[in-house]
Symmetry: C2
Subunit: 367 residues, 2 copies
Amino acid sequence: MTKRNILLTPGPTPVPPEVLKVMAEPIFHHRTPRYRALFQEVSEDLKIVFRTARNVYTFTGSGTVAMEAGVVNFLSPQEKVVVLEVGKFGERWSKLAKAYQLNAIVLKTPYGETVTPEEVEKTLKLHPDAKAVYGTLCETSTGVLLDIEAIAKIVSKTKAIFVVDAISGLAADRLEMDQWGVDVVVSGSQKGLMIPPGLAFLAANGKAIALHQNAKLPRFYVDLAQYEKSLRDWDTPFTPALTLVLALQVALARIKAEGMEKVWSRTAELARKTRKMVHELGLELFAKRPANTLTAVKVPAGVDGEKLVSVMRDEKGVTMAGGQGEMKGKIFRISHMGFISETDVRTGIEALKETLTELQKAQSAKV
Amino acid sequence: MTKRNILLTPGPTPVPPEVLKVMAEPIFHHRTPRYRALFQEVSEDLKIVFRTARNVYTFTGSGTVAMEAGVVNFLSPQEKVVVLEVGKFGERWSKLAKAYQLNAIVLKTPYGETVTPEEVEKTLKLHPDAKAVYGTLCETSTGVLLDIEAIAKIVSKTKAIFVVDAISGLAADRLEMDQWGVDVVVSGSQKGLMIPPGLAFLAANGKAIALHQNAKLPRFYVDLAQYEKSLRDWDTPFTPALTLVLALQVALARIKAEGMEKVWSRTAELARKTRKMVHELGLELFAKRPANTLTAVKVPAGVDGEKLVSVMRDEKGVTMAGGQGEMKGKIFRISHMGFISETDVRTGIEALKETLTELQKAQSAKV
């Protein structure tokens, strides 16, 4: 008997079988017409997912490589940036700004809350010299969805570019790069794109590319000029993670066949059902403005949140994510993006119900 | 009928079937005891291949990520470094030095030649303020092997650290990091380690780590301090390329079972046989000091080198690498590292003989 193993984590997310299969095919060389045809196809298909007519650049790396690319390609030392910091991944933008000696104005909210477009507007009026605003589509650490459309409308009226981390939100929560006027979108492979971790992406529009021409921060591996030059021949400047590019081709074909509107509405529907099931268990959501990408739930009083996650994983065969950093033990997170099905979520919620009952029983036996 | 497809390129190199297979297994979450046990095993096993008792750090990225890590982690702006530039990958060190505003003293040789230990000694005497020497174990673009042991002996007497790019040479040409006193070794996954591209590695000794403490170049994704901290819990700071770490576990088990001495002697023997076969075809080696990792061969007069490579690939099912940059059309390269067998090389040489005859016949028909 194979042990049940349901993955409900917000990345890596489950990989469809036809995507897994292609990664076991014999390796081939990347400086060949075969690779260029493959890379042309995925580079074109990525535009459909990013909702942009601009080039999408592919890096081999974790999602953070694309975030770093979103900083070093557009700025010079000491320049002013605004960071929307609503959780751990917003904090990563601040850490990047610090590492690269930028002057960061940080709009920080308590975990579970979000920055309003009005606050962004006020801040940009106080800091008209800001060159960039850094935000997050879905803050994976808290399950919060930022109002990227409204914020983009405000930022687009200024000289600043709006750089959005859509690592977990892409192909899960709606993001319209060109239509909303988001200048730079970064993402990763192991979330809505349904392939294993190891590829990262960045799309940039004309306003961002204009900044790039004068950006003096030092860079090499993530220098967009090199990727732009190589992309003209459907190539990358450095050896790509070939097996993951093959996987991406299959996953993107799946997304194209379904269509982005359907991907978003299916994810939204599953998120709505998840929130309903969570409420029916008498549990509370953690996010004030919940994303469709994942649902963060407060651990009920008297329950050890870390134990909840490990019992579910090791005894029930359902892997959810616990809280990170300060939120450790206080929340758990259920994803419903990509290849995660309603059956997966229902089975997970059933296991959650059982586990909570068991832990609460053990707790009251102790008391 | 499956078309023959023999891969003789110096990266990606062929991946053993049991390694390919493991990449098609269902994905799992990386913040789990399962992943930590896996990552502990590969991190320990990597030390056997790097021949070091020090930690080996694993990055998700192309090999160039580890080269960049080998620069930004150890230096401050404007510091002096010596670059041994004997080919395209030596040039990459110079480009990195330039991108990070270092003062680079470049020891450049014509392609096919190598820098002597005496030249390094003389240069370090002229530049006692040099903080680092950057070299390459096997210069993949020309097939040249540098005398890393002798150069390390010289550099170790100075204050400078010796940073060696062993991306293509590791587990192919002998490299004894600790015994020879090499301070930093960087490598990649798609060469002697026999897995697909997408992981990069760096090992650093105490002399290098001491420099790291005061190195002021900006960095984030490749900052060793973050990797060192995570490694204490057998973890990485950013989501790792899980499928490739699984592949690495299987490939390293294979290398351990064979033993490093045997890996080196088998590769040396196959390289010797390849050079003999090349001579028997009346062809000349390009490298003055040939590596065992790969053999670079001069394209004979009157033959179109680019056509030679494409005809062999598209008509004979044997992929060799052509020349890069200035060497385009002038050389071709046959690898014999990792999973490449004597049968693969013999079949490749047979196809080469046929193709050369056909191209020369076509050429004389034209004349």
